[in-house]
Symmetry: C2
Subunit: 75 residues, 2 copies
Amino acid sequence: MEVLKVSAKSNPNSVAGALAGVLRETRSAEMQAIGAGAINQAVKSIAIARGFVAPHGVDLICIPAFTDINIGFVK
Amino acid sequence: MEVLKVSAKSNPNSVAGALAGVLRETRSAEMQAIGAGAINQAVKSIAIARGFVAPHGVDLICIPAFTDINIGFVK
């Protein structure tokens, strides 16, 4: 599944457009966000994307979940 | 529909418990959150509540949306 990484500085409209694009091809997408600011932008993106896909008969839903991530260091 | 108001200081476990309780009776609930911190707690609550209701055969989903709110002043 395609993974969209959302940051606190992400533009919700841009993320919504990307999300709608992915959904058009795969019917589902995964979004990853770390921190309150990023979660906020991600949720707004989904609300906006619902409007993008609704005219195509798609009722976009979201399934929040926790996940473990690997953080890499560059020495 | 029952409305749960979530703040940035809400305990996600407590909100998840309340949400699961409401869902047991009504099958759906509305959550309201204002600001990144509150949205963050709300999303975490939903992720936690999914675990609470899953054993009862309920696959909890969420539908993010914007809404208008009325703000009242007390003179």
